[in-house]
């Protein structure tokens, strides 16, 4: 008798009980899709959020709009709690698409700010992290384009910049692993305002540990850095300035060789990065008849790219940003030395030699 009752009782329990306490209704939530953080003069943080508002158009259709709210506090939860009191519904930051940190704040270290997201089991760690040039709040305050909430737009912009190997693919998750690793430093995309209505994501900010160095690599350098890091996505677009004109080169495939050597006597560290880029010419008007001489043009491209690459590596060394993970290589191959040295003081003295080789595999429909 009892045996027959158990299944039915269990099913009733299962169906009835679990929903009682942890049921959460979407209509009671105020979803935040973009967060901007800035520092204040009094040491507090200024948090700006974009909360989504669903406006019913009738017939089950919704207009998605967003609302800007701002609050001050000492950490993200405090700001969140204040904003929660300002908005109807419970605030939910665990589906935020982007977190934008103002550059002044980022220079003071970003990990303590983000700790909240790692600790919260509900938090979404595929949120994109960006550094704003100037005030982060201004970025979110840009009027929306095409009636899309601005955070959606920013997310799409990051995706398109990532696809063409302009900025690195950084989420909250990947960022933590990089920053907490002493043998490597992180890089983050920079977002800036062009004029009142446009935003642009095309440059990369360098980190030293968890602090933003303030050094920003420009568009071309940023793409080249990613190629040197062997982080090419589907394609990479390079607009290479030559003496008289600009050649657009689309990289389709690449190979990288990365070596770190240590001189036994002087203990000086030297690393060589050689990349071979294979791709096609998108535009070339250097000759009057537009024809491409692949071997000659690739030499010219190499010359220009090598010059840029040296600027990139010099900037990295000056900023003390080990974006290539030379420390990681050193730790594996020379673990004795690695334990002895303080990598942060040793890194700027290492020699970094980039070498770019260009192979033109196609010139498009023209000769």
């Amino acid at each position: 008798m009892i045996k027959k009752l158990i299944p039915s009782v269990s099913i009733v329990l299962l169906l009835l009980l679990p929903g009682c306490w942890d049921a959460q209704y979407l209509i009671n939530k105020k979803l935040v899709n973009g967060i901007a953080l800035d520092s204040q003069e009094n040491g507090q943080l200024r948090g700006t959020v974009k909360a989504i508002i669903l406006e019913s158009k009738g017939g089950g259709q919704f207009n998605v709009k967003d609302k800007l709210e701002q609050a001050f506090g000492r950490n993200i939860p405090e700001i969140g709690h204040k904003i929660d009191s300002m908005l109807p519904g419970t605030i939910e930051a665990n589906k935020a698409f982007v977190i934008i940190v103002g550059d002044e704040l980022a220079k003071k270290g970003i990990m303590p700010l983000l700790e909240f997201f790692y600790r919260l089991p509900k938090a979404y760690l595929n949120t994109k992290v960006l550094i704003a040039k100037g005030q982060a709040a201004d970025i979110l305050a840009v009027p929306e384009t095409e009636n899309n909430p601005i955070a959606f737009d920013i997310k799409q912009m990051i995706f398109s910049s990532e696809r063409t190997t302009l900025v690195s693919n950084q989420t909250l998750y990947s960022l933590w692993n990089q920053i907490s690793d002493p043998a490597e430093d992180a890089i983050l995309p920079i977002i800036r305002k062009l004029n009142n209505r446009s935003l642009i994501i095309d440059s990369t900010g360098l980190f030293n540990g968890d602090t933003f160095t303030g050094v920003i690599l420009s568009r071309n350098e940023s793409g080249l850095l990613l190629l040197l890091k062997d982080k090419m996505s589907n394609v990479a677009w390079l607009d290479v300035p030559l003496e008289t004109n600009v050649v657009s080169f689309e990289v389709r495939k690449m190979k990288r060789k990365f070596e770190v050597t240590v001189d036994e006597q002087t203990q000086s560290i030297e690393s060589n990065i050689r990349i071979d880029l294979y791709g096609n010419i998108v535009s070339y008007t250097g000759n009057p008849d537009w024809s491409v001489n692949p071997s000659q043009l690739s030499k010219e491209l190499e010359k220009s790219l090598n010059k840029q690459a040296i600027t990139v590596t010099d900037t990295l060394l000056q900023a003390n940003c080990d974006a290539f993970g030379i420390g990681r290589k050193l730790k594996v191959s020379h673990s004795g030395l690695w334990k002895k040295i303080d990598w942060k003081t040793k890194y700027p003295q290492t020699k970094l030699k980039p070498e770019v080789h260009v192979h033109i595999t196609s010139t498009g429909a023209l000769k």
């Binding site: 009980l17 009682c20 942890d22 760690l125 989420t171 990947s174 002493p182 290589k329």
Partner: protein, 361 residues
């Protein structure tokens, strides 16, 4: 009562009992002592367990068809043997209660923060008892079917390799030294417990001694490699600093993944993981029942009673702030119950073999 089980069913009984909640936090626990060599610690621990199950195997093959309850009655006599069995019973109930507490804590952190503990406990134990009152063959068949889920879990964890991984985190091998690796092995040992089911369930498998050792060794190495794999992907997927800060790295690892259709794979993983975790509790309820009773009806009553005891114990434990001292005592208890006592029995059977054989007839 003595319904026989096949070799394959014994295999699944062992692995399902061993694989449980311990794995989720294991990588960060051993990384604290063994660093990048944590995966070697897991293999080392598998080796120790292999030695221990060799002892179990000697006992089981010398006294075929006898489980630990009958063996202890044989070795220690009628009264002392009953006392030993009673201690085993208490031990299994406490282990089940402890496992339930950890389980509920985990679910409260990740999935259902507002649901009261007693509801979760009731749900887990109702299902657990419902399965455990059945005969062993039914339990084993359920484990066998549920093992398909392990393949899904492996698949999900393989997806985590699409995050940025660094093999260099575990290089150079052996950097932390033997002492630290051994310390890591010790910690792994306590996450891999559950192989003591051999002492109770092997009696019901109709296996030759050779077949038995093959099955239980295979089960042990399956679990060891399964654990080593998870530890390995955590080591290469996290920086050392991050790994030491995270409580359940196996779940955390999946938080970085996103697909067009799926997000938050960690929650999907955990929802599936509930089944192996419950299986552990079912096995302990079975062992608790078997450690005191022989007849089927008495066994069923005993399982019901133990289920209630576990519920009370776990409700009490989940109100406690910290389980640290408790888990320390559990570890000592474990060493005595699953290593010291069987070893003592083995030594006794080795020394006074003819005496026990005579007693047996």
């Amino acid at each position: 009562m003595n319904i026989s089980i096949t070799q394959r069913q014994l295999f699944f009984l062992i692995i399902k009992t061993q694989i449980g909640i311990g794995l989720l936090s294991l990588p960060s626990v051993i990384q604290d002592s063994a660093g990048g060599d944590a995966w070697i610690s897991v293999l080392g621990s598998g080796l120790v367990i292999q030695l221990l199950i060799l002892v179990y195997w000697r006992l089981c093959s010398q006294y075929p068809g006898m489980n630990l309850r009958e063996m202890s009655l044989l070795f220690f006599g009628k009264y002392a043997g009953k006392a030993v069995n009673f201690i085993y019973y208490c031990f299994f109930v406490v282990v089940a209660g402890y496992a339930c507490t950890l389980y509920v804590r985990l679910i409260k952190v990740w999935l259902l923060p507002l649901t009261p503990s007693w509801v979760l406990l009731l749900l887990i134990l109702a299902v657990g008892v419902y399965l455990a009152v059945e005969n062993l063959r039914v339990v084993a068949r359920f484990y066998e079917v549920a093992s398909i889920l392990l393949i899904i879990l492996l698949g999900i964890s393989l997806a985590s390799l699409s995050n940025e991984t660094h093999i260099s985190n575990i290089l150079p091998m052996g950097q932390s030294g033997m002492a630290h690796i051994a310390k890591g092995s010790e910690k792994t040992f306590f996450a891999m417990l559950g192989f003591e089911v051999i002492l109770y369930f092997a009696a019901q498998s109709k296996d030759t001694p050779r077949g038995l050792i093959r099955t239980i060794s295979f089960a042990n190495w399956f679990v060891t490699l399964f654990y080593a794999f998870f530890v390995f992907i955590c080591l290469i997927g996290f920086s050392q600093d991050a790994l030491s800060k995270v409580k359940e790295p196996v779940l955390f690892l999946l938080r970085g993944l996103t697909f067009q259709l799926f997000d938050r794979l960690d929650l999907i993983f955990l929802s599936i993981w509930i089944i192996p975790m419950s299986a552990t509790i079912v096995s302990y309820l079975c062992m608790a029942g078997k450690s005191l009773t022989k007849k089927r009806s008495a066994y069923q009553r005993m399982v019901w009673f133990s289920g209630t005891l576990v519920l009370v114990l776990a409700s009490y434990l989940s109100t406690r702030e910290s389980l640290d001292t408790f888990s320390k005592w559990m570890e000592y208890g474990y060493l005595v119950m699953i290593a010291a006592v069987p070893l003592l029995m083995w030594a006794m059977s080795f020394l006074f073999r003819s005496f026990y054989k005579r007693r047996l007839t």
